[in-house]
């Protein structure tokens, strides 16, 4: 069986690092035939206003995402556990800055 030619280009997620030392941040997605072309297009679409010093592109299909319907089970339980935030604790004056 032969693989039919793709009628639509696959989707890529674009991550741009705005400055040396900062992390790459997700800024959008685009369609491209392959990784090299996705990089080139990301440059033209997402870095026109000097937004970046580095670009990553990742095939969207390679991202495993949590399901919206699992939201309650996954995230609700942490809502009432305020002791997980450092601001919950009073720090004795003697400790000084932590």
């Amino acid at each position: 069986m032969t693989t039919p030619a793709l009628k639509e280009w696959p989707l890529w997620e674009v991550f741009v690092r705005s400055k040396q030392g900062l992390e790459h941040k997700h800024c959008g997605s685009l369609h491209a035939a392959d990784a090299q072309q996705a990089l080139q297009m990301a440059r033209d679409v997402y870095t026109r206003r000097q937004e970046g010093v580095s670009i990553w592109v990742v095939p969207s299909a390679n991202i495993t995402a949590s399901l919206p319907e699992d939201k309650d089970a996954l995230f609700e339980p942490s809502a009432d556990k305020i002791y997980r935030h450092p601001t919950f604790y009073e720090i004795p004056d003697e400790v000084g800055h932590m």
Binding site: L30, H31, A33, Q40, D44, V45, R48
Partner: protein, 261 residues
């Protein structure tokens, strides 16, 4: 000694006319990303033209020349761009409507011109005119991307489907003869080379052929003949197409000469 502003205008007009042509794709690109890529390309080219026109205006010091006067109030015979750059985006002999626009012509022309300018701007970084050398340093970075962009599409479409290959070969066959104009040194280029302002482009021919040959081979396209009539746009003698480009580009400025944003 009179400054050779003709040479600077030649560089500026090349950038402006190709920038104007490529901007025709704005809102009509084959895909959104290419629409933006071509607009970026045009803005780079128009930016180069502006710097060069401003430089000419400063050199003339006649209190009247400005970048706008040079771009909007000169007629076709005063433009010094290569004829290659004023042609419509079409291999048809008589393209009539915007519907005739063919991306293969856009890509091949950008490739042939960028392959030249990557060499020209690199060499002009050593110009005796420090202002031109600075413009060259900036433009060199821009044209490196223009070359990479057009080269990648040349290879994708040349080595693509049967139809895309056929269209790319047609564009190469159509445009290649216009590149002969690069290699016939004009009086203004010879003077520019003698004074160290510019260079004789004919000295870059072998290097240009290497870039072009290398990419065409990878694109499975044939290096077509570049013989026949040699165009003379840089001498101010143009094809019938430049008048239409200028009419569209200049009409607003001429109708409202003192208008501002």
């Amino acid at each position: 000694m009179a400054v050779n502003t003709d040479y600077l205008l030649h560089l500026a007009d090349n950038a402006l006319i190709l920038g104007q042509r490529n901007a025709e794709w704005c809102g009509h690109g084959p895909i959104l990303e290419e629409d933006m890529a071509m607009a970026n390309n045009s803005l780079d080219l128009i930016g180069q033209a502006r710097l060069l026109y401003q430089h000419v205006a400063n050199l003339r010091k006649d209190g009247r020349t400005s970048e706008d006067l040079l771009a909007y109030f000169r007629d076709a015979y005063e433009f010094r761009n290569y004829t290659l750059l004023e042609l419509p985006h079409s291999t048809a002999l008589l393209p009539t409507a915007s519907g005739d626009r063919d991306y293969s012509v856009t890509i091949v022309r950008n490739f042939l011109y960028s392959a030249l300018m990557v060499l020209v701007w690199d060499a002009l970084k050593q110009s005796s005119d420090s202002h031109l050398a600075a413009i060259a340093a900036k433009s060199f970075k821009e044209v490196q991307y223009h070359l990479a962009h057009s080269r990648s599409w040349l290879i994708r479409l040349g080595d693509g489907t049967g139809l895309s290959h056929q269209k790319m070969q047609a564009a190469v066959d159509y445009l290649m003869p216009f590149t002969q104009e690069f290699w016939v040194d004009s009086p203004m280029e010879i003077v520019a080379a003698e004074t160290g302002l510019g260079l004789q482009v004919s000295s870059l021919k072998a290097a240009w052929e290497e870039i072009v040959d290398d990419a065409l081979t990878e694109a499975t396209l044939k290096y077509s003949s570049s013989q026949g009539f040699v165009t003379t746009g840089k001498l101010g003698v143009h094809s019938e197409h430049l008048g239409f480009v200028l009419a569209e580009m200049q009409s607003l400025a001429r109708a409202h000469p003192t208008a501002v944003w």
